[in-house]
């Protein structure tokens, strides 16, 4: 069961990597990450539980449930990325504008 060891290591590494970073909403994100890591490790160790959960909520197999969760996670990732990119774009625009205006000549040479 080498794959189980590899998967668990990967989950722990990702969770540890994501736990760092900005201070905002860090606590919430850490809690979410802990839940995610535990669920992922549980799923790796006891695949049957995944199937059991899947059947309880009306999905056929555990693998299908995984796929759906993955899709939702991916889409939410895109959404947060998009919002983040827009904020970054705005800050970049403001910064670039400041630079442009700082380097521009005065509107009236005589400074009136």
């Amino acid at each position: 069961m080498i794959v189980k060891a590899l998967l668990i290591v990967a989950v722990v590494a990702i969770a540890a990597g994501l736990a760092r970073g900005g201070a905002r909403r860090l606590a919430l994100r850490r809690v979410g990450l802990a839940v995610f890591a535990l669920a992922a490790i549980g799923g790796v160790l006891y695949p049957d539980t995944l199937t059991w959960v899947a059947q309880r909520i009306g999905v056929g197999r555990g693998a299908d449930l995984m796929l759906y969760v993955l899709i939702v996670a991916f889409l939410s990732y895109i959404a947060t990325r998009f919002a983040h990119d827009r904020r970054t774009d705005r800050r970049l625009t403001d910064l670039a504008r400041c630079v442009a205006l700082a380097e521009a000549p005065p509107p009236r040479p005589d400074g009136r």
Binding site: A96, R97, L101, P107, P109
Partner: protein, 268 residues
């Protein structure tokens, strides 16, 4: 019907110290002013990779207006260097490409630094506009609208009587679609929505905060005009669709971009 007026009467309080522009400001120009009553006028020209066209554009503008500001949006073809060769032209260079809306906003921020600036014109760098149209539009600012309030915004239109839009049929179709969409969403009865030629008073420009880097800034301006209740009118202008501007950015694909920007911009 070329001059449809806005509903500024409803928001009289917003037209703070509305001195009718032009007549009040007759300070003698220290600079190379061409017409004394135009010393308070700034022309903002956003330019991105327009080296092939911007020379004649600046020739035409500097022959009429003393104060022209070119915002070079990080062109890679030497547009900025061409503009810098005109001694009366003020050049503002974006360090990175930010889009036309951002270039306009930079130009607005720049000209507002001049306390004597009372009227601002936006003018495309690709040679499709005529300086004579810009002059006529500037002269209409401050004249009474149909409702009697002094006009604060003059929008160039390709579709009013007296205007010529020498564009292909397909492009006209898309433009009209954009107009219909904007009329419905912004609720301003304009006949043209993506015309880069405009004249505005200082108080209008001071309230503009364009966030859309791309082409949807045209809609943002109209939204501000409606929200603030500025007195506005349209002015028929001639668009010179040269082979150059045809090939440049005025393609069908660009029109599609405008529509997409609009649709996305609404939901932001």
């Amino acid at each position: 019907m070329g001059a449809e007026s806005g509903r500024s009467a409803a928001r009289e309080g917003n037209d703070r110290n509305d001195t009718p522009d032009g007549s009040a400001d007759s300070l003698p120009a220290a600079g190379p002013s061409l017409a004394e009553d135009l010393d308070d006028v700034w022309v903002v020209v956003p330019a991105y990779n327009e080296a092939a066209a911007i020379g004649p554009v600046l020739e035409g503008l500097t022959a009429v207006f003393a104060h022209v500001a070119v915002v070079d949006d990080a062109s890679s073809d030497g547009t900025g260097d061409i503009a810098a060769a005109y001694p009366t032209v003020r050049l503002v260079r974006h360090p990175i490409n930010l889009g036309q809306g951002a270039a306009l906003q930079t130009g607005f921020d720049y000209v507002l630094r001049d306390p004597a600036a009372r009227r601002v014109v936006t003018f495309d760098a690709d040679g499709q506009h005529r300086a004579a149209d810009a002059l006529a539009m500037v002269r209409r600012l401050g004249t009474p609208s149909d409702l009697g309030a002094p006009l604060q915004v003059i929008l160039g239109t390709r579709f009013g009587p007296g205007a010529t839009a020498g564009a292909g049929r397909a492009r006209l179709g898309v433009l009209r679609l954009a107009v219909a969409y904007t009329r419905a969403t912004v609720r301003l009865p304009v006949t043209d929505t993506h015309n880069g030629l405009r004249a505005m008073t200082r108080e209008v420009v001071a309230q503009l905060r364009l966030r859309q880097g791309g082409m949807a800034h045209a809609t943002e301006i109209l939204e501000r005009v409606r929200a603030s209740g500025f007195a506005w009118a349209e002015h028929p202008v001639t668009i010179d669709y040269s082979a150059y501007s045809q090939a440049k950015g005025q393609s069908m694909l660009n029109a599609i971009n405008i529509l997409t920007d609009l649709a996305i911009g609404r939901s932001r």
